[in-house]
C-alpha cells in the first residue's frame, strides 16, 4: 500500500525538504505474460487498468505506452468537462463520467483539481438558439442540469463577453451546465497511474507496440520495442494512433486522425471564472489556475499525425476570441500545440468488442475525450472483463456503422469537424 497523501504527509515531508517522497509508480520491465495488456498510457488507458484491478478483481495487467504517461492527448487538451450531449445514449455515457469526476480526487487520494465552474455554450444565430434550446430540454429529460440563458443572462454570468448586437456574430443566448467545469489533466493521468500501480498494474513507458500476434481470430500477444508480451486480451486506448494499431491486427476502422490545436496565453490575474464555448464562431476559452487563458481552436480538415496543425486555424479562432472578448486584445500567447484526434463519422466514440476475439477498442473520442476519462475507463474495463459491453456503452459498438444506428453528436461535440 502506498502512503496516503494528506496535510500531515505534506508537513512531514517539508522537514526533509520534500526529498523523500516515495515514488508514485514503479518503472518495471515487462513480464513475459499478462492477462490483459492496455495499449496507451493516457487517461483512458490508465483509468481502464485501474478499474480492471479495482472493480473486476483482474490480476496481471500491463499498460504499455510508447512515450511517457499522459504525454499524448491527455496533456494536450483544454481540460473541459461537461455532459450536455443531445441523445440519451450520450447523456448516459458522459454523465456517468461526470458523476465519477465529482468524487474522483477522494477516491484516488490525488487532487485532480476538479472545478465545477460551469460551462456555457453560446448561440449566435437563430438555428443555434433552436438547437441549444432543444438540447437543454433533452438534457433535463435525462436528468442533466442545463439552463437556457438569454443575452442579458449570458452577460451577467460572464461580464467580459461582448454582447453588442452589432458584431458579426452577436450573442443571442446560450446554455449553462453548472456541474460542468475543468480538471487538471496531468493530475488525472498521474492519479490513475499511482492508484493502478498500487494495485499491481505494471505501467511500462517508452514501450511502443510494433505488432499484434493472432492465431486465427484470437489475439495471442503483442510485439513491442521491449520484446514480445504474451496475452489473450488487448485493450486499445491509443486515441489518434488507434488506426495504426488496428491496421497491425488487420482491422480497418471508421476513423480519421486530424490535428486539433490549442494555445495558452501569458498568465494574468483572474478574469474569467467559467468556461465559454462557441460552436458557430469556433472559439472556446477558460482560465487555468496558473492564470493562463486556455484557448481551443478547431481541427484541420486533412489527415495528419504531425501534431502541428495549420496557422490559419489558430488565426480564425483568435479573430473570434477578440470579437467576443475585446478585453483580450493585448494578451500575448505563450504556447501553441496540436494533438492528433481520432474522429468518427458520427462524432461519438467507440467502446467495443471487435471481430477479433480478445481485441477491444476504446477510440473515436475525437475532439472531446478528456471529459469522459473516468467513465470511459470504467465502461471499457467492464467490456474487457466481461467480454460484453455495459448497458451504458452498448450503443457505442463498432457495428453501428454497419447497422446504421449512429449516435450523431456533431451538434454537441462543440468542435466542428
Amino acid at each position: 500500500m502506498k502512503k496516503k497523501y494528506s496535510i500531515f504527509s505534506l508537513i512531514k515531508n517539508a522537514f526533509s525538504y520534500h526529498e523523500n517522497w516515495e515514488r508514485a509508480w514503479k518503472d518495471p520491465a515487462p513480464k513475459k505474460e499478462y492477462d490483459i495488456v492496455i495499449v496507451g498510457g493516457g487517461g483512458h488507458g490508465l483509468a481502464t487498468a485501474y478499474y480492471l484491478a479495482k472493480k473486476h478483481d483482474m490480476k496481471k495487467i500491463a499498460v504499455v505506452e510508447k512515450g511517457w504517461i499522459g504525454g499524448g492527448n491527455t496533456g494536450r487538451n483544454t481540460t473541459i468537462i461537461r455532459s450536455n450531449y443531445l441523445w440519451d445514449a450520450s447523456a448516459g455515457l458522459y454523465d456517468h463520467a461526470l458523476k465519477i469526476w465529482e468524487t474522483l480526487s477522494q477516491e484516488l487520494n490525488y487532487n485532480i483539481m476538479f472545478s465545477q465552474r460551469g460551462v456555457m455554450n453560446l448561440a449566435h444565430n437563430l438555428q443555434d438558439v433552436r438547437d441549444l434550446k432543444r438540447r437543454t430540454h433533452a438534457n433535463r429529460l435525462n436528468g442533466i442540469d442545463a439552463v437556457y440563458l438569454n443575452t442579458e443572462e449570458v452577460k451577467k454570468f460572464c461580464p467580459i463577453i461582448n454582447t453588442s448586437q452589432s458584431i458579426r456574430y452577436p450573442v443571442l443566448g446560450g446554455t449553462l451546465q453548472k456541474r460542468a467545469g475543468t480538471a487538471r489533466h496531468d493530475a488525472v493521468a498521474w492519479g490513475y497511474a499511482r492508484a493502478a500501480d498500487d494495485m499491481g498494474v505494471d505501467i511500462i513507458q517508452n514501450c511502443e507496440v510494433k505488432g499484434i500476434k493472432r492465431n486465427a481470430d484470437t489475439v495471442t500477444g503483442i510485439e513491442t520495442t521491449k520484446g514480445f508480451i504474451k496475452t489473450n486480451k488487448i485493450g486499445v486506448a491509443a486515441a489518434g494512433h488507434t488506426s495504426v494499431i488496428a491496421n497491425m491486427a488487420g482491422l480497418k476502422l471508421p476513423l480519421e486522425s486530424k490535428p486539433l490545436q490549442a494555445l495558452v496565453s501569458e498568465p494574468v490575474k483572474p478574469i474569467i471564472d467559467t468556461v465559454v464555448m462557441s460552436n458557430a464562431v469556433h472559439a472556446y476559452v477558460s482560465q487555468s489556475d496558473k492564470g493562463e487563458l486556455v484557448i481551443g481552436a478547431g481541427t484541420d480538415d486533412y489527415v495528419s499525425y504531425s501534431q502541428k496543425g495549420s496557422h490559419d486555424i489558430v488565426e480564425g479562432t483568435l479573430n473570434a476570441i477578440l470579437e467576443l472578448y475585446p478585453i483580450f486584445s493585448r494578451m500575448r500567447m505563450l504556447r501553441q500545440w496540436g494533438g492528433i484526434v481520432d474522429i468518427c463519422p458520427d462524432a461519438s466514440p467507440i467502446i467495443s468488442k471487435t471481430s477479433i476475439k480478445g481485441f477491444y477498442l476504446n477510440c473515436g473520442w475525437g475532439t472531446g475525450g478528456f471529459k469522459a476519462t473516468p467513465g470511459s475507463g470504467d465502461l471499457f474495463a467492464h467490456t474487457i472483463a466481461n467480454d460484453e459491453p455495459h448497458k451504458l456503452n452498448a450503443a457505442f459498438n463498432i457495428n453501428r456503422f454497419v447497422s446504421g444506428d449512429l449516435v450523431d453528436e456533431h451538434g454537441a461535440a462543440a468542435v466542428a469537424h
Binding site: 480497418k252 486522425s257 489527415v303 499525425y305 496557422h311 463519422p345
Partner: protein, 91 residues
C-alpha cells in the same frame, strides 16, 4: 501548414484547399446490390495511414478543381501531385 502545388494554378498555401480524404475509393456501380457490410466499408472505413497516403484535394479558393496528392501524413511532406483519372505514381 504546408504548400500544395495545384496542377492547374501552381504553388499555393494549404489554407486555399479543402481536403477530400482518401483517394481511389471506387463508388459502387450498383449500391442497391451491396450488403450492409460492403456499404459500411465503402462509406465509413478508412485506412487512415500514418505514412504515405493517397488523397484527394480541391482548390476551393482557386480553380475549384479536384486532384490527387501523395502525402506523408507523419510530417505533411508532399511526395507527388497528379490529376484525377491519371495513374497513381509509385513513391
Amino acid at each position: 501548414m504546408f504548400i500544395i502545388s495545384c496542377p492547374f494554378c501552381g504553388e499555393r498555401e494549404q489554407s486555399e484547399f479543402k481536403a477530400g480524404g482518401e483517394a481511389h475509393i471506387i463508388r459502387p456501380k450498383q449500391p442497391t446490390e451491396l450488403s450492409d457490410d460492403e456499404w459500411a466499408e465503402y462509406l465509413f472505413m478508412r485506412k487512415n495511414i500514418k505514412g504515405v497516403q493517397f488523397e484527394r484535394w480541391n482548390h476551393t479558393h482557386g480553380c475549384r478543381k479536384w486532384f490527387n496528392v501523395v502525402r506523408d501524413t507523419s510530417n505533411d511532406e508532399i511526395k507527388a501531385v497528379y490529376k484525377m483519372g491519371e495513374k497513381p505514381p509509385t513513391v
